[in-house]
Symmetry: C2
Subunit: 333 residues, 2 copies
């Protein structure tokens, strides 16, 4: 199995991307990784590692880089020899089963959509973000790919999210609709309508869930439009950051608290590890004809490794094939 890795995408590329690739090769023996990007830079990084690992890495040299500031459309139209574009093209040409990038998310979505195309019947792909539940992994879909959605799209998000998660977790999963209020008739016009469709189409559907239940694991797959999903996701991020910064400021004020913080170091570390995106590595874009994993811009090699492993598992579990199958069986397309 070949997996394409955008060698230049991310704040710590190519050092951390190359390191992440090498670390993955240690764990997965049946894959090879194609790293796209600046040949000499990537070669220089590879020098650090033993040849039995780097022999399973090939470099696909490219001349352009999509930056975080590039507009998705510009990246799509003017950066066809970028590490991102070429990595996605490798998937299109069946030279790789999927692509991982920690680069410009908007550009990755746009190029994935354009180059790989949609699964027939899927209106628009969606970003499925793994959620750190206390005792499991959940999924928030869509986390920002589609700002204005209709009911049919939400139903498709539910289907794609369900197939993805039940195959990743190897168990049945439940579905909830993110809403204000939990009663059937509560919410916006969209959620009221979507509630009825989801209820009719999924036995896994457990009804509305509110914002304060996103992280509890009350339901496994949390369905929402990309506008709301992105606000929720960033609000989680902002709240955690605020709590940490306020606590740090309070600790600075008192020696006693500083000693306390020292003693709590491990507990804190475990807390952050639970909430850390690195644990999951990335978020799959679901609905494209080919696997495309969006890793965090600040990805370390650990995040890159876990994103590549996510891609590997999606391919092993035949997520795309299963989605096509179930789309054609139900009234989803």
């Amino acid at each position: 199995m070949h997996i394409a890795l955008d060698g230049m995408g991310g704040d710590y590329a190519p050092q951390e991307t190359v390191k992440g690739a090498i670390e993955t090769l240690k764990e997965l023996e049946d894959i090879q990784i194609i790293i796209t990007g600046d040949k000499s830079l990537i070669q220089k990084e590879l020098l650090k590692y033993p040849s039995k690992l780097k022999d399973r890495v090939s470099i696909y040299p490219t001349t352009q880089i999509v930056t975080m500031h590039d507009h998705p459309k510009d990246a799509l139209l003017t950066k066809k020899d970028s590490s991102l574009y070429k990595a996605i093209e490798l998937v299109k040409n069946k030279e790789a089963v999927g692509i991982v990038s920690a680069g410009n998310t908007g550009a990755q979505m746009a190029i994935s959509l354009f180059v790989l195309g949609r699964i027939t019947g899927i209106i628009r792909p969606a970003i499925a973000v793994p959620m750190p539940f206390p005792h499991s992994m959940g999924l928030l879909i869509d986390a920002g790919a589609n700002t204005d959605c209709n009911t049919k799209q939400l139903v498709q998000f539910a289907l794609m999210g369900k197939i993805y998660l039940e195959n990743m977790l190897k168990r049945k999963v439940t579905i909830g609709l993110l809403n204000i209020g939990t009663e059937e008739e509560k919410g916006s016009k969209l959620t009221q309508e979507a509630y009825q469709s989801l209820k009719n189409m999924f036995e896994e559907f457990k009804g509305h869930i509110e914002g304060d239940k996103i992280l509890t694991g009350e339901v496994d797959v949390i369905v929402t439009d990309g506008f709301t999903g992105n606000i929720a996701l960033k609000t989680i991020e902002g709240t955690a950051e605020r709590i940490v910064s306020t606590l740090k400021a309070e600790i600075k004020k008192s020696n006693l608290a500083a000693v306390g913080a020292l003693l709590m170091k491990n507990a804190m570390k475990n807390l952050f590890k639970q909430l850390d995106y690195e644990t999951f590595g990335g978020s799959p874009l679901l609905g494209t004809n080919g696997i495309s994993i969006i890793a965090h811009g600040r990805s370390s090699h650990v995040a890159i490794k876990n994103a590549i492993k996510m891609c590997y598992k999606m391919e092993k579990e035949k997520i795309i094939e299963k989605t096509i199958q179930q789309l054609n069986h139900g009234n989803f397309a």
Copy 2:
């Protein structure tokens, strides 16, 4: 100045509501409080306090109670002799300048809207929730009163929020629009359109802000539709709860961490105090012809006191009169 207090609203009524009233009277010498509700229950609570304070309390006896499970419409139509309804009626009849309740929020909104009416020109009232910024107080508006909004409503939320906050803080405030992405062209159809109107109508407008900036104080007034606002608010709540519960579980695992937690007790307390709704007491419903303060269902006497003080300050600052004035001056109605 008379302020009406729903004596039976809230999880800890009437004990905490009555205590909150008494505590407020200690701090504000120029007000009287009318408590609505079960006469004998309230009288029993009042017995605990010295007469020089309770002399400034009068009881308005009512026979019904709006419960948390009552549908707003049912409460409006069938509970006209409830402590909530009568308290709002006192404002309508000018016997009180405003009403505070920790009861059923939906019912309070519905009855406030029906009994007090809207400020002429305001499409729909909105809930303005105080936000605990690191060094100041901000405002999120609308936090759940209006699920499907148009641009004109968002502009009115901005106006009402701005007038409220600049008078409460006694300084100029800035306005931001909650969105996904910060660039002008980013977001949903609604936020893209609203961006242009807000830019044209408010010199205070600073553009879009994302979910991770809600708690930072980057802008003072955060404008959003009630669906998104409610999701964001509950997500903050859920994230904080999750962090606390995970940390507690980690502390339980280690004696060292437990000692650390003990030493950090004060720092933690200060953290929670900063993030606690009790500090603000309540959220005003803005846009009604009369002050209506929505307090948290779990309000203690501290929250009740701060909610009454919020009502007092809104009256002192003539928030409603100023809103009417500025509505007629600009192109807002």
